[in-house]
Amino acid sequence: MTAEEKHPSISVIAASYLGPSLSPNEDLPWDEASLPHSCDDLVQKVLGQPMRRAGRFIKMVCAGAMACLREVPPAALKNKRTGIFLATGLGNGDEILPFVTQVFKHDGGFPSPNQFANSVSNAAAFFLARTSDIRGVILTVSDEELSFEAALWLAQSYLACGEIDLALVGGCDVYTPTVEEYRERMNTSPANSRDLPIGEGSSWLLLALDQPERIGEILAVQMHSAAISPSEYLRSESYSILSAAAADSPCRIWLPGFRLKNPDAPQGFGLHDYLQSCGIHPTASAFGMARAMRTNPASLLIHYNQLASGRTAIIAAKTSQHIE
């Protein structure tokens, strides 16, 4: 069963990626052993002021999303009905875990009401809404490694029906508390994922219907209930249609999600192996798409992602001739 692909094409107005190095839209070196880094400097740099009484997850969500919004002039956002679609596989473990530890052990003092409030599933989306002065459609979507794809699919629907003018869609997951636990929560094993460091990130796209000023387009978001191999997908009719729609894109770029044991690009595709830059985390696909959108002009982008169960999601997009 495939989710219907009846969405119109969606313009990508802006994209911003943020990985473990905590430097928006830059690929700086990082290593798993040094995670997590404080993101206070990042918050100061992007927001211009500190975020008090908020944990790393909330700060990362806000900094990543605001970095994306800053890519467009304020006039482009003014008087627009903007929806927020926050995807997160694991949510705010950064604040849930200390709170639960206080509940069970009391060795860190009594449970903090502020920490509980921040740990609630949609608190980060609320803080982002307040920071960006957005009201209206705000959804927190949490579907493991396909969270970003699910959020993108829903955002397309809201744009297509005219309920919103703009959609700020992004994925954020943060490292916590140990490598082993993080891997367990992502259900990764040598048998079902690539052997790469784990990472984190907050990466976002700003979308609209039919905007002439754009860096690219989302052509389709497809969700398959069962495993479909890359070669099966590339032989499918839906790929043929997309490929024809992107006939003016001289480059074809393959973006493999971390479940794909063999990341090699299929014939005719170049490889955008973004996981080297952001590490494995549930919403790494948001990083991959945002980064590819910014760095690969005139390209057809195919992002291939899977859950451990085999459920597969594919994002097809194309980038404009001149991105910057």
Partner: protein, 389 residues
């Protein structure tokens, strides 16, 4: 009545009043409710909190899965869904904790089984809210797209509105909407830390109210694009769903009632229904000072002197948090099937700032339009109308 409306084809629920929506509704109407009490589940570390606990002979993780199984099976049976229809359905789950219960159960079991050892570190082993969605999809063979909305107390009410929107746009053919929330130490202690817990009883809209009491529950609503005949004795449609999120306060919907008014008016506008057509209101009514003041004032602004009967179910089943939307909707539908609206439990004295008493008698449930409201943490609001035909 358009055949292209969003129809409710089936529903099911497990609440503290019963292991089915039908049983829960009959107990609700008969007044066979049990006040919140100190809980007995082995994973709960404090006996200080009273909550609406579902009785089960087994461990809390098994109970959670049994709750899901019972609610979804009841809904599918009522809907008479074939395997093929289930396979092509879209699944939307509203939950805050997902399977976080596993962490709490495993930790407390580890402590219980090793009384002479120091307790292990707390660990998070669940895979986030989406884990329960994949579990449901796998168990029941739901093959359409899956979405998990983790939006605090409006998780499943938002999921219902999102599903209705996708059906209206014909993006999907059928939606299975599930709400799920087991009792957790995390939420019991959390709301207590916010001083939002009433240690005596849940008293929605009452002058003496002093907080909420948490309940647990699971529910499933099957929505479909197009006319269906298999829901029960009557037919039901979901009209005018509206969700809205403000950014003013993390914990309050604004005690002037303006936001509530705006949200309800927009839901009615989308349903093309005048306020005077509403037969009764299934209010959110948590029993907290601010929520009930916001909601009461908002409803008064919309309905003026013609306020229909207002009923909160939380005095009877508690606040099921992310599952509240689906559970309360399923229970209400079963009450409509029984032909009777229950009284609003826990009320004793009018709050002059609110200015009305919730319904204190059971009433007939005729065909017509029923308004639903839900509000949540993060200034989130959902409202919709269910029409009994």
């Amino acid at each position: 009545m358009s055949d292209h409306a969003v129809h409710i084809r089936g529903w099911g629920a497990v609440s503290t009043l019963g292991w089915s929506a039908a049983e829960s509704a009959r107990n609700l109407i008969a007044g066979h409710i049990h006040p919140a009490a100190v809980c007995s589940s082995s994973h709960l570390t404090s006996r200080d909190f009273k909550a609406f606990e579902i009785v089960y002979d087994g461990n809390p993780l098994e109970k959670s899965l049994a709750m899901l199984d019972a609610a979804i099976s009841e809904a599918f049976k009522r809907a008479e869904l074939t395997k093929e229809e289930i396979a092509e359905s879209c699944l939307l789950v509203g939950t805050t904790g997902g399977l976080f219960i596993r962490n709490e159960y495993e930790f407390t079991e580890s402590v219980r089984l090793n009384p002479d050892k120091e307790s292990p570190p707390i660990s998070c082993r669940n895979r986030g809210p989406g884990e329960v969605t994949q579990l449901i999809a796998g168990k029941f063979g739901i093959g359409g797209p899956t979405f998990t909305l983790s939006m605090a107390c409006v998780s499943s009410s938002h999921a219902l509105v999102v599903a209705a929107g996708l059906l209206t746009q014909k993006k999907i053919r059928r939606a299975v909407v599930v709400g799920f929330e087991p009792l957790l130490n995390m939420t019991l202690h959390g709301f207590a830390s916010l001083l939002l817990y009433d240690s005596e009883r849940c008293r929605p809209f009452c002058h003496t109210r002093s907080g909420m009491q948490i309940g647990e529950g699971a529910a499933c609503i099957v929505l479909e694009d197009g006319r269906v005949e298999t829901a029960g004795q009557n037919r039901y449609t979901l009209e005018g769903g509206y969700l809205f999120n403000d950014n003013t306060s993390l914990t309050s919907a604004g005690t002037d009632g303006e936001m509530v008014k705006t949200v309800v008016q927009e839901a009615l506008r989308r349903a093309a229904i005048a306020p005077e057509s509403i037969v009764a209101i299934k209010a959110h009514g948590t029993g907290t000072r601010d929520n009930d003041l916001s909601e009461g004032r908002g409803l008064a602004k919309v309905f003026g002197d013609h306020l229909p009967p207002v009923i909160s179910l939380k005095g009877a089943v508690g606040h099921e948090l992310g599952a509240a939307g689906a559970v309360e909707t399923a229970l209400w539908l079963s009450c409509l099937e029984e032909g009777s609206l229950p009284k609003s439990f826990g009320f004793a004295e009018i709050d002059s700032e609110i200015g009305f008493a919730p319904s204190q008698i059971n009433r007939p449930a005729p065909a017509g339009d029923y308004l639903f409201t839900f509000f949540g943490f993060g200034a989130t609001c959902t409202s919709y109308v269910i029409r009994k035909i």
